[in-house]
């Protein structure tokens, strides 16, 4: 049987949204020397079955969406980061050491259904 087409507008589809993390908001400006903050972004939006294949989805997301259509108790695929990139942080610890370190998976570059 044909699956019903979801009533989803394009702007509600899974995609990357801008999110700037300001370390001052977290109180982390007291020990992070640089940067002051960074554009971390986030993923949000719907992952309707009919568009799962076009929304940068994994094969697993497609299968999950298919199973959800058959059995609604199985949750729908969700909008998640599919590509992340690192940032470098310069900070000071409690021993007055100045540290430069790279942290993986801090910035969302791409989103998809998974």
């Amino acid at each position: 049987a044909a699956l019903p087409a979801p009533n989803v507008s394009c702007k509600n589809l899974c995609h990357r949204h801008q999110l700037f993390i300001n370390f001052r908001d977290l109180g982390w400006h007291k020990w992070i020397i640089a940067p002051k903050g960074f554009m971390a972004n986030y993923c949000h939006g719907d992952c309707p079955f009919s568009l799962t294949t076009s929304l940068n989805s994994s094969n697993y997301a497609f299968m999950q969406a298919l199973m959800h259509a058959i059995d609604p108790a199985i949750p729908q695929a969700v909008c998640i980061p599919t590509k992340l990139s690192p940032i470098s942080m310069l900070y000071q610890d409690n021993d007055d050491n100045v540290i430069l370190r790279h942290y993986d998976d801090m910035v969302v570059d791409e989103c998809g259904c998974g």
Binding site: P86, I87, D93, D95
Partner: protein, 230 residues
């Protein structure tokens, strides 16, 4: 929220939220590495984050450890040419066991105003301290001098490779009892130099700044490059 923050900080390699009293000065090289990486990330250039190209070494964590030592003042009349004696101490406890040391560079900044115009030539000697310094002891028991360098004119920050020493300290923390730094004035006794000596040494005490730059490699975060080679 605090509980979650603690968990996240542990992921970042921190035991607790740092609360420094004031920010330490950041050396130019660290600023440059940070800005270069930030610029590369902005334009989307892929980088090997386990190689510090500016220093030519493998590593993904750079630490600048401040000197926690102290000046030594002898009650006896010091040798005429001896200008300054200092115990240098660097606390390596922040380096985790799993991290591999790939660089340890001592930076000695004698300060821009140490010298008079055509002032006296300095010579510095560095040796490993053999035993912990006892309070009241004039000079710690120094080992063999491993650096003896003439400094004829202001040269900016002087750098010394301490990788083997730092590795030894890291493996045997009880051996880390410091370095003994002594600075001499060459040509002491020449006419016209004596009156400058005291001023030079006083200025040197005020402006001397020592730090240890340590680069380490965390194998858990830097495993993919060896796989690439295979």
């Amino acid at each position: 929220l605090q509980f979650q923050e603690h968990d996240f900080l542990q992921l970042l390699g921190l035991d607790k939220v740092p609360s420094p009293q004031k920010f330490q000065p950041v050396p130019r090289i660290l600023k440059k590495i940070f800005h270069d990486q930030e610029a590369a990330a902005t334009i989307g250039v892929s980088q090997d984050l386990c190689f510090v190209k500016e220093l030519g070494v493998r590593g993904n964590v750079l630490r600048l450890l401040p000197d926690q030592g102290f000046f030594l003042y002898s009650k006896k009349i010091p040798q005429a040419s001896s200008c300054l004696q200092k115990l240098l101490y660097f606390n390596l406890s922040a380096v985790k066991d799993k991290e591999q040391l790939t660089m340890a560079q001592l930076g000695l900044d004698l300060g821009p105003n140490t010298y008079y115009h055509l002032g006296p030539e300095l010579e510095l000697a560095l040796s490993l301290v053999q035993e912990p310094h006892v309070w009241g002891q004039a000079v710690p028991k120094p080992g063999k001098v491993f650096v003896l360098q003439s400094v004829p004119w202001p040269q900016g920050v002087l750098h010394f490779n301490l990788l083997d020493v730092a590795k030894d300290w890291n493996n045997n923390p009880q051996k880390n009892v410091g370095l003994f730094l002594e600075i001499f004035v060459k040509g002491h006794g020449d006419a016209g130099v004596n009156f400058q000596l005291e001023d030079t040494c006083v200025r040197l005490r005020c402006s001397l700044h020592a730090s240890l730059m340590v680069v380490t490699l965390d194998p858990e975060q830097c495993h993919h490059s060896s796989r690439k080679k295979r």
